[in-house]
Symmetry: C2
Subunit: 238 residues, 2 copies
């Protein structure tokens, strides 16, 4: 994490040049989500300026946006990468349960079930050789894409934002292979219920999946609290 005073002007997938603000926002978000900047770490606008070769105007705009995402928070005067907050993780799970269940119930009423195939293909793209990072991403995208199918933008954004907030914690989790396989199985079961148009079953399975994941996540983080703190990560107890 050494400042390199080199302007990096990223380009989006269309090849068009992003604004400095978007560039800084994107890169900083990736550094935070990728734990290159640890939870609880202090941020100064000046450091970000030098690190990304941008001036303060786009840096501050990016910080404001990341604040609304909950990835950083004000620390009196100054900015801090949001700590991992176990109480918050539990609350998010309840929130997710509400919006994801509502979304999946909507999705079950859809006539066109073919879009389910895309999600199933995404799940099946993971096998024993797939790196953990990819499992992690697919596990998140499953929930996000499933919510997108509901057609309700607010439910979709709620799920996407909640998964973003959970992302770092899920990555920190000391997760054994069995847990990954378990999630994979549960995801498939949920999809099967959606495909059958069985809203009640899909809702029940999804709800149990979310709450179960939460419990394992919180337990895992709680047990590994010391290890995480030793790595310099701020973990706030529930």
């Amino acid at each position: 994490m050494n400042p390199s005073p080199v302007a990096v002007n990223a380009a989006d997938t269309n090849g068009t040049t992003m604004s400095q603000m978007q560039s800084v926002e994107k890169q900083l978000r990736e550094m935070i989500l990728g734990l290159e900047i640890g939870p609880g770490e202090r941020l100064t606008e000046r450091w970000i300026e030098r690190r990304f070769g941008a001036s303060r105007t786009p840096v501050r705009a990016a910080l404001l946006r990341l604040e609304t995402e909950g990835l950083i928070c004000r620390d009196g005067r100054g900015w801090t990468v949001s700590p991992i907050n176990l109480a918050e993780l539990e609350q998010i799970a309840v929130y997710r349960e509400a919006v994801e269940v509502a979304a999946v119930r909507l999705t079950c009423t859809l006539s066109d079930k073919s879009v389910i195939d895309d999600i199933e293909a995404m799940l099946d793209s993971c096998d024993a050789d797939t790196p953990r990072e990819e499992w992690h991403r697919v596990g998140m995208d499953f929930h996000i894409e499933l919510a997108r199918l509901s057609g309700n933008d607010f439910l979709f954004r709620a799920v996407r934002d909640a998964m973003t907030r959970l992302s770092r914690a899920r990555w920190l989790e000391v997760r054994d292979e069995a847990a990954l396989g378990r999630a994979w199985t549960e995801h498939h079961a949920i999809l099967a219920a959606v495909r059958a148009g069985n809203a009640d079953a899909a809702a029940r399975l999804l709800s149990a999946h979310i709450i179960g994941s939460r419990d394992r996540l919180v337990t895992s983080l709680h047990n590994d609290r010391r290890g995480l703190r030793a790595r310099g990560f701020a973990v706030v107890a529930a």
Copy 2:
């Protein structure tokens, strides 16, 4: 809406001076929600600078925040006050139903029911002499405060933000006195169910209330579409 080049540095309830950014954000939000700036109207950073006597940095920060609230949106190059979008209103109602029902179910499990009294008192503070504007505010705050009781910050914020987005539309609605009384009655019925700890009943009543309100709101706006457009308000059809 004439620019008056006078710096207005508002103060918050603590008497401490707000930053320019907060001041601009607050005042601009009030102008938008109060329909002093109509839905669909164009905004320029320069106009806001002059209007509030602030410079561009705080103005741009305020605009970024209001964008995440959905009150304004980018218009290519430039900003526009978000139009009233009937399709969006319908989606928000589904979103509200999900989060508010989840919140009220949590609230029903609370042991301390005395906090319910505060909300009931708020409802009862409205009578025949109360101005419409106050009825409007209390009607929104009922839902927000009920969600706050759940103790879940994400559900609370979701409800608060959704109500903010609905605010302008509800204010535009051509609402007869009977509808106001109807909402008041339904609010009381919901509170009674919560007080009795009857989560299923509370959920059912709240759900019906939200969906019923949505249908009346959308119908009202749809019928009055021409009148609203004549007032210069952009209303996007569902």
